[in-house]
């Protein structure tokens, strides 16, 4: 499988009156053809900023790309002009957002919002674009698409709107679909439908998916690889099984322990991670998780650990993997043991 998208040491900051917020501090990952990766982490860890930087959607100022590369289709997306970016957005890389209730323009019909991208990128006339839009609505499972085409977003339910968003995003068969918390604002039953739809369409359109989420249940359902982010850095990444069954980073343990499991008895409590993430105005010089980590050592506060290979597909940035570090076993709640 060839690599579609590669992010190398990406750094993004926001210039504010109070100083510079270092939202993304050296993130690297790659995306293979037809693959789904999940970027997980709590609010403010930089996962959305990373994804929106790939699309170059963040207004600048205040956002600044401080360094790194985003390699796509032989180009570095951190350097291309806005005009070139317009040709990539929607056709090559598309995006769906968290809140389907606010992501569609309330004053335009759903149909015309789907048609817009088709007309612009595929140079179709209105009649053909309309046919294509109706076909997209049918593809995402919206019943009586001819009628729905002329309706406004407020006449759609939340799940329907997210389906319409997916229709917009996939209308030009992009190589990469970035889904920024696509199910967070939806009911649990609808969540499953949307995830199934994404899986189904991925096969049909052969798109690679970057899924941004903090819902590990969704991750387990759809992702093949997982990137765990914390305070603007990638702390662990690996195949789905590696992250779920053999997690190495204490933060990943924390995330897994805070998620309900089916094999849990009712008297077992969910374990939150105590403390809060560091202030990204002044990120700590050592490991950003050290202040919340039960196993933190002196070195953790002093120096950021390098990335260690657990296997060829599994990387972690933690001092505990150092040969001289004490052996620490992940807590039972994280790996599902008794």
């Amino acid at each position: 499988m060839s690599t579609v998208l590669e992010v190398r040491n990406l750094q993004v900051s926001f210039k504010t009156h109070g100083g510079e917020v270092q939202a993304v501090r050296g993130v690297s990952f790659d995306l293979k053809e037809g693959e789904t990766i999940a970027i997980v982490g709590e609010s403010g860890c930089g996962k959305s900023v990373t994804s929106q930087t790939i699309m170059r959607l963040l207004p600048s100022p205040p956002s600044v790309i401080k360094g790194g590369e985003i390699l796509f289709d032989g180009k570095d997306l951190t350097k291309v002009s806005e005009k070139e970016m317009e040709k990539i957005r929607g056709t090559q890389i598309a995006m769906i957002f968290q809140d389907p209730m606010t992501s569609l323009n309330p004053t335009m019909t759903v149909g015309s919002q789907i048609m817009e991208g088709i007309i612009k990128h595929q140079k179709m006339n209105k009649a053909d674009a309309k046919k294509k839009a109706i076909e997209m609505l049918r593809l995402v499972g919206i019943p009586s698409p001819e009628k729905r085409f002329n309706q406004y977003p407020h006449q759609f339910s939340g799940g329907m709107r997210q389906r319409a968003m997916i229709a917009i995003a996939l209308a030009c068969a992009p190589k990469v679909l970035i889904a920024d918390e696509p199910t967070t604002a939806l009911d649990v039953t609808i969540q499953a439908q949307i995830i199934d739809l994404m899986k189904d369409l991925q096969k049909k359109i052969k798109t690679s998916i970057i899924l941004i989420t903090h819902d590990l249940g969704v991750v387990a359902d759809i992702a093949e690889r997982v990137v765990v982010m914390y305070a603007g850095k990638v702390v662990e990444s690996g195949k789905l099984e590696e992250i779920f069954y053999n997690p190495k980073h204490p933060y990943t343990w924390g995330l897994l322990a805070s998620m309900p499991r089916l094999d849990q008895t009712s008297d077992q409590e969910l374990l939150p991670i105590p403390g809060t993430p560091p202030d990204l105005f002044k990120p700590p010089k050592g490991c950003p998780f050290a202040a919340r980590c039960k196993h933190a050592m002196k070195i953790c506060l002093e120096e950021m650990p390098d990335t260690t290979e657990v296997s060829s597909t599994h990387q972690v940035a933690c001092w505990l993997t150092h040969p001289m570090a004490p052996k620490v076993e992940p807590p039972a709640a994280a790996v599902g043991g008794e």
Partner: protein, 312 residues
């Protein structure tokens, strides 16, 4: 079908509102001290009596009221008490065209400039255009129209000689008063649009539009502006009525035979029928404008459309 039903209902409400306005104005007016002949001190008392009787002003108030309503139903606004027995309807219709033309021009010109200014200011917050728009808005609201009118008349009319200083007739005559009137329109519209643009540009659907690969012009004009227009449309209704029914001061300075002048003269003279006539005309116009604004809302924002089409 729903729209027709809605329109009929709205017109029924409008008729009731208008009737209430007429009734209240009628009785309030008659409670005012003085009479239409107050300023005619030289007239002998007998003659005054006779004139008042002739106009029916000596009858009991309720008789006068019902007679007036009866006349209204026939489209008769009565006869002016000060202007030598001329029909009120004729006088209103005489003054209205000039005021309406000026007002319409001022509203159109002011809205276009206001929207352009507001959009640019909203998109480029903190730029010199934004600052300029703020200054224009403050000037437009705080400097009275008659000062602008006088300055325009003196500088552009008299000193530069580009346009006629005053009077009414050709299109050139309308330029300066239109500019004077449009100041307030530009100020208010540009402020509303600016505030809305700032807010709309931060909405998620703008991000969606950008993620589709649309160019920024398409995003601004197709997605942002339409949503930013909604509040501006709200103030446009009453503003149009205010301006189209004539500004007393601006019409006075440019010696324009409009409705503004009519207003002042009739009120100072206790000209009952003229006051009522002008009030009725003004109210009806305002009600109609509000109705049109409501229809416009629906055209701009489908969520407030009257026809039923809710969720399925």
């Amino acid at each position: 079908m729903d729209l027709l039903k809605y329109t009929l209902k709205r017109f029924a409400y409008m008729a009731v509102t208008l009737w209430l306005i007429i009734t209240v104005t009628f009785f309030l007016m008659h409670m005012l001290p003085g009479s239409p002949l107050r300023n005619e001190e030289k007239l002998p008392p007998q003659l005054k009596e006779q004139i008042l009787r002739e106009y029916g002003l000596k009858d009991p108030l309720h008789v006068q009221y019902f007679r007036y309503l009866g006349g209204l139903l026939k489209g008769d606004l009565g006869t002016s008490l000060t202007f030598d027995g001329r029909k009120v309807t004729d006088m209103v219709l005489e003054g209205f065209p000039a005021s309406a033309q000026l007002g319409l021009q001022a509203i159109l010109f002011g809205s276009i400039i206001g929207i352009i200014l507001g959009v640019i200011a909203g998109l480029k917050r903190g730029s010199w255009i934004d600052n300029m728009a703020t200054v224009i808005a403050i000037l437009g609201v705080s400097v009275p129209g008659f000062v602008v009118a006088a300055v325009l008349s003196y500088v552009v009319g008299l000193k530069l000689g580009w346009f006629p200083v005053a009077l009414w007739g050709t299109w050139e005559h309308t330029v300066l008063p239109t500019l004077a009137l449009s100041g307030l329109v530009i100020a208010q519209i540009s402020r509303y649009i600016r505030t809305e643009m700032v807010e709309v540009m931060e909405q998620d659907y703008i991000k969606t539009a950008k993620a589709k690969g649309l160019a920024s012009n398409a995003i601004i004009f197709k997605h942002a502006l339409r949503n930013a227009l909604i509040p501006a449309v709200t103030i446009l209704g009453p503003m149009t009525v205010n301006i189209m029914t004539g500004s007393m001061t601006v019409e006075l300075i440019f010696a324009i035979p409009g409705m503004g002048k009519l207003f002042v003269e009739t009120i100072t003279n206790n000209d009952y029928t003229m006051i009522l006539g002008v009030t009725i005309f003004y109210s009806a116009f305002l009600l109609l404008a509000i109705f049109i604004v409501d229809i416009l809302y629906g055209l701009i924002d489908p969520r407030i459309r009257i026809t039923q089409g809710g969720k399925e």
